[in-house]
């Protein structure tokens, strides 16, 4: 079976689902961040795949680059937040941080 767009999309879907699974099930905030990175990579695969098989030039790749930049910024901010959370709650377990409920 020749590899076409569908294959790449399936791969990206699976990667996305795994990312969401990671986000949802992990207790540690850093692990949640890793899930988010997975999701971003899945979206990047989509961008580049459509760029490859569509007829609109290299804009898809360009957007993938932008997403990478955003991911870098997001990682920096998120880690800063995690550090603050750690200072406040002494741990970084997301499931125990439920102040929002009250």
């Amino acid at each position: 079976m020749e590899v076409t767009l569908t294959h790449f999309l399936i791969v990206s879907t699976l990667l996305f689902s795994l990312g969401i699974y990671g986000i949802v099930t992990r207790k540690n905030a850093i692990m949640v961040l890793m899930g988010i990175e997975l999701i971003l990579n899945a979206s990047n695969i989509n961008f580049i795949a459509f760029s490859r098989f569509g007829n609109f030039g290299l804009q898809g790749q360009l957007f993938a680059l932008f997403v990478i930049v955003l991911a870098a910024a997001e990682a920096a901010i998120a880690l800063a937040i995690v550090l603050n959370v750690y200072k406040t709650f002494v741990n970084v377990n997301v499931d125990e941080i439920d102040e929002l409920r009250d």
């Binding site: 099930t25 540690n28 890793m34 990175e37 910024a73 990682a75």
Partner: protein, 162 residues
């Protein structure tokens, strides 16, 4: 099944398997290492899609930057000396069911869609084209992203210092 397809499956398997381990393993350092492999596999897929520059950037930024950052986060927030650098999981069953259903329906959508495929030829090197685009049509976005990154880093530094 030619070489291209073979390489694709190889990389896809590498990516998905290591991603699976990332989200399932209980050791956080090990998860970080599996994440490294995931990024590597994704970079390979980029190369297969003709995006050489993006693949290189993926390796440099993700592997060289973000991953190191994450590991530093791990080391700061867990007592590195203790053996128990682990993180438990919660509500795995509803998550598995939900994600499974989600994957299934998205996959069904993808398979049932008649995708338009315009250009199946491999493009030449993308570097010069991307550079021209970045400094012509997308120069504003480029500059804005630069500012965003700067602001984000300054913000992160000031938040972390408190």
């Amino acid at each position: 099944m030619n070489v291209y397809d073979l390489i694709f499956y190889l990389f896809a398997a590498l990516t998905l398997l290591s991603a699976f381990f990332v989200v399932t393993t209980r050791n956080i350092v090990r998860a970080a290492f599996f994440l490294l492999f995931t990024f590597f596999g994704v970079a390979g897929i980029y190369v297969l899609l003709g995006a050489d520059f993006v693949a290189i950037v993926q390796l440099i930024v993700y592997v060289g930057g973000i991953l190191i950052l994450l590991i530093f986060g791990v080391m700061i927030t867990n007592k590195i000396t203790s053996v128990d650098i682990k993180a438990g999981t919660i509500q795995t069953l509803p998550a598995a069911i939900g994600v499974g259903l989600f994957t299934g329906i998205i996959g069904a959508v993808i398979l049932n869609t008649d995708w338009f495929i315009a250009n199946s030829e491999m493009p030449e090197s993308t570097l010069s084209t991307l550079g021209k685009m970045l400094l012509n049509e997308y120069v504003l976005v480029f500059e804005l992203l630069g500012i965003l990154l700067l602001v984000a880093l300054i913000g992160a530094a000031s938040m972390a210092r408190k």
